[in-house]
């Protein structure tokens, strides 16, 4: 199936690559561009050098290849090729030699990887019966638990010190040092929470928020000590929040939820030289919500590429926890497409009740996806939307805010956003029968 332009853009590593790629889409740049159905794409792009760059895409992966020196994946040449294909400018042709070679090496490698995985699985199932192997893996888990416990105790002590001496007196570089020690203690979740709190110090009216977040961190540490006494879904929440890894393959092999998922929107944020993409989904039939997270090195493409306002049909596997939210996409039954209609929305009271219930089950919940019906941007100076005769503060930059105002035209819209317990960050608005990413 041919990709839409939006899908191509979502696969791009960054905006600069898209811009550069747009400049390469004219037919004059391309020689022998061709496609093999929905399996592969290729072409030679004339650049500034004498030799054209050869770009190819294995659409099954998708995997990208180009002879240019760029470190971005996919590079501008591959993106340009995909854009041309998306607009129907690339026709089917016989596969040239260099493409065929690449595709077959890829297929070989995939087979080898599969064989290795099968062998590993066989070893593991054999190993389960082997007491020595079980003992070894049990020992590993034990060592990790010990290191995490040490880290938790250390963080507890540090927090208590800060409370005695005053958070206002904490040296700025101490936060980073503490976060680094949590990474060493194999508790990346704790490290992330410390870094997040450190960032809060820089925001406005930071004190309420900072104290509240550190208090929740303290609660998490206390919960970790009592892990064995906690009921299972909550214990799972604590383990995931502290940073114990979850085996993705195992997760996907477990129960999944199939639905027609609305893509409510999301955003990319830089975290430690990584780009973190968050995408919120809401099920049209089950009414469930989900958060997809994807991590990519700077300049690399995210493997989650769902344009806001579209809908896809897929199986989701939820991470364990008291409030299932974060999920992985298993089988995709229908790719994301622009469809008529709107995601299920609720009145404000029900939305807030839902958030309170979720927070009661998972006290470390950060953002919660909501869809408000009949929201009207207020005319005053403060950014807020009026819903059911009440006012909800909106946390949005000037561009997103004015886009929301322009789209509404002073009339009610359906508005999806992230609720953080005090303000709404708008993601997508539905008005006049179309979805507008904000």
């Amino acid at each position: 199936m041919r990709w839409t332009e939006e899908q191509v853009l979502a696969a791009a590593p960054d905006a600069a690559a898209v811009k550069a790629a747009r400049g390469l889409t004219s037919p004059g740049r391309w020689d022998e561009a061709g496609a093999a159905g929905a399996a592969a794409l290729w072409g030679s792009c004339r650049g500034s050098g004498r030799e054209p760059y050869r770009a190819a895409v294995d659409l099954a992966g998708p995997a990208y290849r180009c002879t240019c020196p760029s470190r971005k994946v996919p590079c501008k040449h591959v993106l340009a090729l995909l854009l041309r294909w998306a607009t129907g400018d690339v026709t089917d042709r016989p596969v040239p030699g260099w493409v065929g070679e690449w595709l077959s090496t890829r297929a070989d490698r995939a087979e080898v990887a599969q064989a290795r995985a099968a062998a590993r699985e066989a070893r593991q199932s054999a190993g389960e019966s082997s007491p020595a192997r079980a003992a070894a893996s049990g020992k590993r888990a034990e060592r990790r638990a010990e290191r995490v416990a040490t880290g938790v105790t250390e963080l507890e002590r540090w927090l208590a010190d800060q409370v005695r001496h005053g958070l206002a007196n904490t040296a700025p570089d101490e936060w980073a040092a503490v976060a680094a020690r949590m990474v060493d203690a194999q508790a990346p979740g704790l490290a992330r929470l410390v870094r997040r709190a450190a960032e809060l110090r820089l925001g406005e009216d930071f004190s309420d928020r900072l104290v509240a977040e550190l208090a929740r961190l303290r609660l998490l540490l206390a919960a970790y000590h009592r892990l064995d006494a906690l009921p299972e879904p909550l214990a799972g929440t604590v383990r995931v929040r502290v940073g114990f890894p979850v085996d993705r393959a195992e997760l996907l092999a477990g129960p999944t939820v199939r639905d027609r998922w609305w893509v409510l929107g999301g955003r990319d944020e830089a975290e430690d030289a990584l780009s973190v993409r968050r995408v919120w989904l809401a099920g049209a039939d089950t009414g469930r919500v989900a958060l997809l997270l994807s991590y990519a090195a700077a300049g690399q493409a995210h493997d989650v590429a769902y344009p806001a306002g579209t809908r896809l049909e897929a199986d989701l596997a939820y991470f364990p926890g008291a409030v299932p939210l974060r999920a992985l996409v298993g089988a995709e039954h229908a790719p994301p497409a622009a469809v008529a209609g709107e995601p299920p929305a609720e009145p404000l009271g029900a939305v807030l009740d839902g958030y309170a219930r979720a927070l009661a089950a998972d006290p470390w919940l950060e953002e919660w996806p909501v869809v408000l019906a009949g929201a009207v941007p207020a005319a005053g100076g403060d950014h807020a939307v009026l819903v059911d005769g009440q006012e909800v503060p909106v946390r949005a930059g000037g561009a997103a805010w004015w886009r929301l105002v322009a789209v509404s035209g002073g009339r009610p819209v359906t508005l999806a956003g992230e609720w953080d317990g005090g303000a709404l960050r708008p993601l997508t608005a539905w008005a006049g029968g179309r979805a507008v990413p904000l």
Binding site: G23, L159, A168, A356, P377, A379, E391, W402, G410
Partner: protein, 483 residues
């Protein structure tokens, strides 16, 4: 613990440190207590009753949206991709009678704010929703001021209350319909206007200028404002039967005569009071002698029809006459300016017959201008004279000029591969002007140029921009029924 006072106290204690500020309530573990309070605050948040009123809804815009593909391209251009093509997009979109997508209005209105010449197009495409937004955001106020099609204020009212730009625009529009009424309107407030305003409004008389305006302009020659006097002299010089034109002709004919097969030229020795009153500027541009400069201005204000009789030669011959010390060049410069000022196509062709002159292109009708430049390119290629012509060509070239241009590029590139370092600039200049039906030809040219040279990059860029423009037009003109 849920009382607000307790929370504030708790936050204060954590920030300052319990060593310095012990808390009355609670035990040793302050943060554990704060956790409970924080969760209560998050979960228990209650929306305040709506303080602000919703704004009055924007009036409906009956026009259909531009097609989706056109909207996507607009978004990319507003984000910086080929933003030099935005004026073309705006012009074409305006012609289709459609409205800009609502979600793009903030960026579009910001763009208009940064580019005043595009504001009328922006405001029209934004329509009632744009005027509504302008009411909420003072940054976009201009969108409410630019032409409201429903506004039918009486002319006198707008003339009294408008800004200088609006009043000048109103005057020009009225000149187009009723020149005398416009002049009377200007005269009615003339004595109370500032010098700057008088100069700006007098310039509006250039539209629909006729002998009936002479009296008004002649009076303005004695105005207190220097700029006003200059505009008045310029307008009078465009009227061949005006008294000023007659005075200039006398001065010119006393100094430029024919002496057998040559031109005899005597430069003026002074710029007297009378010459200054008629708009002769005493101080020359740098690089021109002042006496030559005075004569050039005199010739430039002399009615061109006087010359065949005065010199006893038909037009085609007299433009070729030479004078000692190259003084015929001074006369030629005057003639060129006169031809532009008086809009004389016959003189323009005669003068261009001697050699190319970029200024004269403005006189030729669009198609003739293009075919003249096409002929020059066919015959001589990219000489420095011809390259000076290209930037002065109309914004949109004819197919003929486009073909001649591409052929000249191809000839030059194949003839001398090392030369085209400057060719890049010439080719870049054609990106906005090349007619779209030549997109395929530009494409072929990009393939024909050997790679790795600046010219190759420029040709590839040319092909790409023309293709971009072709898609832009195609998307906008597509018949797609959207709400």
């Amino acid at each position: 613990m849920s009382a607000r006072g307790d929370w504030t106290e708790l936050v204060g204690a954590v920030l300052v440190g319990t060593d310095r500020r012990p808390v009355r309530t609670g035990g040793d573990d302050l943060l554990a207590e704060a956790a409970e309070a924080a969760l209560e605050r998050y979960a228990g948040w209650l929306p305040p009753p709506a303080g602000g009123q919703p704004p009055d809804p924007a009036p409906e815009d009956p026009r259909p949206r531009v097609p989706d593909a056109a909207g996507r391209r607009l978004r990319r251009m507003l984000a910086g991709e080929h933003d030099e093509l935005l004026p073309e997009w705006l012009a074409v979109a305006r012609g289709t009678g459609r409205r800009a997508p609502e979600e793009d209005l903030p960026d579009l209105l910001d763009h208009g704010r940064a580019h005043p010449t595009r504001r009328t197009a922006v405001a029209e495409l934004a329509g009632p929703r744009g005027r509504w937004l302008a009411g909420l955001n003072p940054r976009w106020r201009y969108a409410a001021e630019v032409a409201d099609p429903d506004g039918d204020e009486p002319v006198e009212e707008s003339w009294r209350l408008g800004s200088r730009t609006q009043r000048a625009a109103l005057l020009v529009a009225l000149r187009g319909r009723d020149p005398a009424a416009a002049r009377d309107l200007l005269a009615s407030t003339w004595s109370t206007e500032t010098a700057e305003d008088r100069a700006a409004f007098l310039q509006a008389l250039a539209t629909g200028l006729s002998a009936a305006d002479e009296e008004f302009c002649e009076a303005a020659l004695d105005d207190r404002g220097r700029q006003v006097r200059e505009v008045a002299a310029d307008l009078l010089a465009r009227l061949p039967d005006s008294a000023l034109a007659g005075r200039m002709a006398e001065r010119a004919q006393a100094r430029v005569r024919r002496d057998g097969r040559r031109l005899a030229v005597i430069l003026p020795t002074e710029c007297d009071e009378a010459m200054r009153r008629d708009g002769v500027l005493p101080n020359p541009r740098i690089g021109t002698g002042e006496r030559a400069w005075w004569l050039e201005q005199i010739v430039a204000a002399t009615p061109l029809d006087r010359w065949p009789a005065a010199l006893g030669q038909p037009l085609e011959r007299l433009v070729t006459l030479r004078a000692p010390d190259d003084l015929h060049e001074v006369v030629r410069r005057g003639w060129v300016r006169a031809a532009v000022r008086q809009g004389r196509v016959d003189w323009a062709y005669a003068l261009l017959g001697v050699r190319p002159e970029p200024d004269l292109l403005a006189v030729l009708p669009h198609d003739e201008c293009c075919s003249y430049v096409a002929g020059q390119l066919d015959r001589h290629g990219f000489t420095s004279d011809n390259m000076a012509l290209l930037p002065r060509c109309p914004d949109r070239w004819t197919t003929g000029l486009g073909r001649a241009f591409l052929a000249a590029v191809e000839r030059d590139v194949t003839r001398a591969a090392d030369r085209p370092f400057w060719l890049g600039h010439v080719v870049a200049g054609a990106r906005l002007a090349l007619p779209l039906e030549l997109a395929a030809d530009a494409e072929r040219l990009a393939h024909a140029v050997p790679g790795g040279t600046p010219a190759a990059a420029a040709c590839a860029e040319l092909a790409e921009v023309v293709e971009f423009r072709a898609q832009m037009h195609q998307e906008l003109e597509e018949r797609q029924e959207t709400r």
